[in-house]
């Protein structure tokens, strides 16, 4: 019996001794049994000569021989499963004696000793056959000879007698171990292939050209991102998955391969249903058909998307680098480890005025020699180039000066790939302008430094202290005068915080002034007493963006002198006021005296002369009458003089009728005497001010009117007085030429000084405003003091 043949051919030789039922059982060996019947030996021989037969069945003895000779198991079992007969070949194969098998239950044979499960399956199969079923199964038996397991394709069929009663069970078995192992190995190898394809992202395909059928491996479906069911398994179905831009190329490649029946390799992209694109590297072979034309195309596709993307990225990076290299304003030279040009940009060539066709591979030392004539220090330059290409690790930065004034800056550093040095990159930049600028900046800085030193020399020479503070109130400079004033060394204070050195508790006013000056960015001047040193200081503070500068002067002596002067002035003023009061009192007394004594005498005299004249009326001589008239005239004249002298000394009206009446009288007198129109604005009634104030204001009015008469060239004068509970305000204004500031400040303006002193004596203040062409206004404001109830103070005569 041959394995692998699809049909099992049996030659049937009819024989008297061979019962039909037994033949039936044997014919059930396989489903694919084809049997040919021969009714004689001669016929059987002829049939055997004409074709292939697996089995020849003849009479019993012949049958025995045949059965024994076939390399398969054929057994006859009782319906209870006891082996009645068995052919020889399995016994031989298993080195078992017939007596070890026949008469024993089939399942108890050594073949099934290894597995209770197999015994149960066989037992069930035999029982089923005993009940009329034909059972086919694969079972594993243990070889009695080598102990190895063997796979048997087994069948069990019922055997019936003439009355169709099942009398026996026929069992058969074919060793299919080899095929089984081949099948298992094939399955395993297919699994390994699929796994390998999956891991490697390699899919395989096959295209049967004649019937346009395409088959793909599982991994290829994975690569295309589609299900097997979704694929139209044809060439067109495949093309539909190819990226539109690659379809033309694909069809060209495949057409050539088909036409030339030649292998092919090409790359193409595919588009997945989700829109993503994969790059496939495809190798294919064309298998010719019997006519030598392309019958099938088989091949593999490798998903090289990652590599492709990396390549794309790399190309992009390289192009970016190339573009950068050319776009940069720097000249770039890349050398290899042998000191030859690996890359350079046009800017490098332009900077060094080298031929534009200088190619990679040129010796860089030679380039250095070519440019050396341009340089101020060619030997140093060439030397450094040699040094750089002799020492791969070296990094350098230097400035290169050219004879024509150009200045280049060079950076040089090793080029590394990973940890390894593979060359050197030098960049050159034209810094001529920058260098010129820096030289000019340096020159300016030197000038500034000189100026600063000169400045400091000056600051050292001045007697005032000078202090510079930065914005954080730290000393940045102070001259020795300032240090002396502070009782410290210059070096000890530089960098120190001023309010740390001079706690602000004592220096609060200075601190506020410094901060104010810094904040408002305007100079400030203060004079303050610094209590820890018991000294007065004047600070002139000048703010700047960097902090404040302060001139410090110790003005203690000055202040003390001023205070002394002020005290002296106060004494003088008090003395003057006292003298004035005394003079006023004297005037008042003299005026009263003139008034009372001389005035009364003249009054009496006037009346008496009148009386005398009346007595003489008509009876006296003309000469007496004449004398009397002369006397009367003289008396009148004397009275007038008396009044005038008295009023000049102290107008009685001030004491008798008060300030307003006195002003009214005085203004009227002024108007008559000087001829300037006057206007009055006086309180009609109301409280009278205290005599001292009244006297001061009256004298001020007199002084002011005198000034108007002397200097103002006025046409109108207005005198006003306003009294309220707080202050009494006197104003005298004219429309004259206007007093000037110089006149006001002139020490010889005694009238004005007098006015101020009089006002000051009663606690008042004076403002005088002059405006050219408009006039002068004098305003005196004094605190209102209401007149005390009058008491008789005048001594009787």
């Amino acid at each position: 019996m041959k394995q692998g043949d699809s049909v099992y051919r049996v030659l049937f030789v009819e024989d008297e001794g061979l019962g039909q039922p037994r033949v039936d059982g044997i014919l059930n060996l396989t489903d694919k049994t084809e049997y040919v019947r021969a009714t004689s030996l001669r016929e059987a021989r002829a049939l055997l000569q004409s074709g292939r037969f697996d089995v020849v069945i003849a009479d019993e003895s012949r049958l025995r021989r045949v059965i024994d000779s076939i390399f398969t198991f054929v057994g006859l079992f009782s319906v209870g499963g006891v082996v009645m007969d068995v052919n020889q070949s399995p016994l031989t194969e298993s080195t078992l004696g017939r007596e070890q098998v026949v008469g024993h239950r089939f399942v108890d044979l050594p073949w099934f000793a290894h597995s209770a499960a197999e015994r149960a399956r066989i037992d069930t199969a035999i029982t089923s056959a005993a009940y009329g079923e034909t059972v086919r199964l694969e079972t594993w038996i243990r070889s009695a000879r080598d102990g190895g397991l063997r796979c048997i394709d087994a069948g069990f069929s019922p055997l019936r007698d003439q009355n169709n009663v099942i009398t026996h069970v026929i069992g058969s078995g074919v060793d299919i171990t080899g095929r089984k192992q081949a099948e298992m190995e094939l399955a395993a190898s297919q699994m390994r292939l699929a796994e390998a394809q999956r891991v490697a992202h390699i899919g395989s395909w096959e295209w049967s050209v004649a019937d346009n059928r395409v088959s793909w491996s599982d991994e290829l479906f994975n690569i295309y991102g589609i299900d097997r069911a979704a694929f139209d398994a044809s060439y067109e179905g495949f093309l539909a998955r190819v990226h539109p831009d690659d379809v033309e190329h694909t069809t060209t490649v495949i057409r050539r391969a088909v036409e030339g029946v030649t292998p092919f390799i090409y790359d193409h992209r595919v588009r997945r249903p989700d829109g993503s694109v994969r790059m496939l590297h495809t190798r294919g072979e064309v298998l010719p058909d019997v006519e030598g034309r392309a019958g099938r195309l088989v091949g593999s596709c490798w998903d090289v998307t990652d590599r492709w993307q990396a390549t794309q990225q790399l190309e992009h990076t390289v192009s970016t680098l190339k573009a950068t290299l050319e776009a940069t304003a720097d000249g770039i030279l890349v050398g290899d480890r042998d000191g030859r040009v690996a890359a350079l940009n046009q800017r490098f060539l332009a900077l060094w005025r080298l031929p534009s066709d200088t190619a990679p591979g040129t010796d860089i030392r030679r380039l250095a020699e070519m440019v050396r004539d341009q340089l101020v220090e060619p030997d140093a330059f060439v030397g450094l180039v040699a040094e750089l290409y002799g020492d791969a690790e070296m990094e350098s930065h230097d400035i290169i000066h050219f004879k024509d004034g150009r200045v280049y800056e060079r950076y040089s550093m090793p080029q590394r790939m990973g940890d390894a040095i593979c060359g050197r990159v030098c960049s050159f930049r034209d810094v001529t302008q920058r260098e010129q600028l820096m030289q000019s900046v340096e020159a300016r800085r030197a000038e500034a430094e000189t100026a600063r030193k000169q400045y400091e020399t000056i600051l050292e020479r001045i007697s005032d202290g000078f202090v510079a503070l930065d914005r954080t109130w730290r000393f940045t400079y102070l001259n020795s005068a300032a240090a002396r004033t502070m009782g410290r060394n210059v070096e000890d204070l530089i960098g120190k915080h001023i309010w740390g050195e001079f706690p602000e508790g004592h220096a609060e006013k200075f601190k506020r002034a410094y901060e104010q000056a810094a904040e408002e960015q305007r100079p400030l001047q203060i004079r303050e007493f610094y209590s820890p040193w018991q000294r007065w200081f004047e600070n002139r503070i000048y703010p700047s963006s960097g902090g404040v500068s302060i001139f410090v002067s110790d003005i203690t002596e000055q202040v003390e002198a001023q205070q002394e002067l002020h005290a002296n002035n106060e004494q003088l003023r008090a003395l003057a006021a006292r003298l004035d009061a005394i003079r006023e009192e004297e005037r008042r007394v003299i005026a009263r005296e003139i008034h009372d004594q001389i005035g009364q005498a003249l009054t009496s005299l006037k009346l008496d002369v009148g009386w005398l004249r009346s007595q003489l009326d008509g009876g006296g001589s003309a000469a007496v009458d004449e004398r009397a008239r002369a006397m009367e005239a003289l008396v009148d004249q004397t009275i007038e003089t008396t009044r005038r002298v008295s009023a000049m000394l102290r107008p009685a009206i001030l004491d008798d009728l008060g300030l307003a009446a006195a002003i009214r009288w005085q203004v009227r007198e002024f108007q008559q005497r000087v001829g300037v129109a006057c206007e009055l604005d006086l309180p009609a009634d109301g409280p009278a001010v205290a005599p001292a104030i009244g006297l001061s204001l009256f004298r001020i009015v007199q002084e002011a009117l005198t000034n108007v008469a002397r200097h103002a060239q006025a046409r109108h004068v207005r005198v006003g007085l306003a009294i309220d509970s707080v202050s009494t305000v006197l104003t005298v204004s004219d429309d004259g030429r206007g007093v000037t500031v110089e006149e006001l400040e002139r020490p010889t303006s005694l009238g004005i000084v007098g006015i101020r002193e009089r006002a000051l004596a009663v606690g008042g203040e004076v403002t005088i405003q002059g405006s050219a062409g408009v006039g002068t206004t004098l305003t005196v404001r004094v605190p209102t003091v209401i007149e005390q109830m009058p008491v008789a103070t005048m001594p009787t005569q």
């Binding site: 008034h595 006037k606 009206i653 008798d656 009446a661 008789a792």
Partner: protein, 120 residues
């Protein structure tokens, strides 16, 4: 009989005015006081038809004396006789109750005229 009180601290002035009054009026009795206090006492003690009052008195300010006399004896007209010629004085005197103001240094006629007017 016309009774006139003459108040002035000057003896000379009183004498001269008395002479003027005697000459000007037919039947006149002149009383004299040399200060304000005395004047008020005399005014209380006897009836007077007219007071001639100087404003410069040793004990009080003349205007204050005038106000007191006018307040206490409103029926008695007062003529002020003052050395001060200023109108302010006359106005002040009138405000204080005087019916006339004669400046000292005026002729006797003026005094006589003022007295005559005051009494009529």
């Amino acid at each position: 009989m016309t009774r006139i009180l003459l108040v002035d601290d000057s003896d000379d002035v009183r004498r001269s005015v008395r002479a003027v009054l005697a000459l000007a009026l037919a039947d006149v009795a002149v009383g004299e006081a040399n200060n304000a206090g005395a004047a008020l006492v005399i005014l209380d003690r006897e009836p007077w038809d007219l007071v001639l009052l100087d404003l410069s008195l040793p004990d009080r300010r003349g205007l204050d004396a005038l106000r007191d006399i006018h307040r206490l004896h409103p029926a008695v007209p007062v003529i002020v006789l003052s050395f001060n010629p200023e109108a302010e004085y006359a106005a002040a005197a009138r405000a204080a109750g005087a019916v006339g103001y004669v400046v000292k240094g005026s002729s006797p006629d003026v005094i006589a005229l003022a007295v005559t007017r005051a009494l009529s």
